[in-house]
């Protein structure tokens, strides 16, 4: 299992369009990927990073810290790619 933390940097947070880009990127990997709000409820503030409804339900806003964790054959590439995507502000 590999995990990394990052901060949501884009102004609109992880809303519809960025979330679509995010799950499209997550779907390219075989590993199971989770996204969790740091400091949030351990059961409620965690979701499958490949499910758009789970990602959107987290309602992640600008400035919130998230942890991405993955388990599987390409876990490191998956987490690094998704962290890079969040850090790139989804092209905004």
């Amino acid at each position: 299992m590999y995990s990394r933390k990052t901060v949501i940097a884009n102004a609109t947070g992880l809303h519809a369009r960025p979330a679509s880009d995010f799950i499209a990127a997550a779907g390219e990997f075989e590993s199971k990927i989770k996204i969790r709000r740091v400091g949030g409820d351990p059961e409620e503030d965690v979701g499958n990073a490949k499910s758009i409804i789970n990602v959107l339900a987290l309602g992640l806003a600008q400035g919130e810290e998230v942890e991405l964790s993955a388990e599987g054959p390409d876990e490191k590439q998956a987490v690094d790619r998704l962290v890079a995507l969040i850090d790139s502000k989804f092209g905004e």
Binding site: A16, E43, E44, I52, I53, N54, L56, A57, G59
Partner: protein, 185 residues
């Protein structure tokens, strides 16, 4: 345009509007016919009671049934709202996420790890009212999307989406701004 996302907490006003709509406002013409029938029936029943007119026992009974229909519907509406006010406190605290996608509609409720989805074909019909979009799976199972939780642009996108996905199964039951005017605002 896709996905269109709604994130909201239900309020008493949402439930009140949905219940009122479900009880009274399916079709405008039908409602006018029911109202006219009720006025006629009630008037006939009262006139018969006051011995102004004379009706047979059967017609008197029919008039009585017509006269009580509207009050019974209204009491049923008030009872449902009251029941939701008492039993729905936990439900009203939950945040609902509804996603209108190209192929389906997805749902998630805070505090519940499970998600739900319906194909567009599974939606029987949908209505737009002054403050809500109502998506009915069956006649007594609806998903409500409050307009207050979103922007004018997204309301217009939702309208286009429902017209595209449901066609004649989507009906607008409120006044909408002309599209050109809405775009300029």
């Amino acid at each position: 345009m896709y996905p269109i996302v709604y994130q909201f907490k239900s309020t008493m006003d949402d439930y009140r509007e949905m219940t009122f709509f479900s009880t009274f406002s399916f079709r405008k013409g039908q409602n006018i016919a029911i109202l006219l029938t009720w006025i006629t029936g009630t008037t006939a029943f009262l006139l018969d009671l006051a011995k102004v007119i004379k009706m047979t026992a059967t017609i008197h009974l029919c008039a009585l049934m017509v006269a009580v229909t509207m009050p019974v519907l209204f009491v049923s509406y008030l009872t449902n709202v009251r029941r939701f006010k008492i039993n729905g406190a936990d439900y009203r605290k939950k945040t609902h996420t509804v996603l209108l996608g190209k192929d389906d509609i997805q749902y998630k409720e805070s505090g519940n790890i499970h998600t739900g989805a319906d194909k567009w074909d599974d939606i029987a019909y949908a209505f737009e009212t002054d403050h809500l979009f109502l998506l009915y799976r069956t006649s007594n199972n609806a998903v409500l999307l409050p307009k207050r939780s979103t922007t004018e642009k997204q309301i217009e996108e939702t309208r286009i989406c429902l017209q595209e996905k449901l066609g004649v199964r989507f009906k607008i039951r409120c006044r909408t701004k002309p599209r050109k005017k809405a775009q300029t605002e």
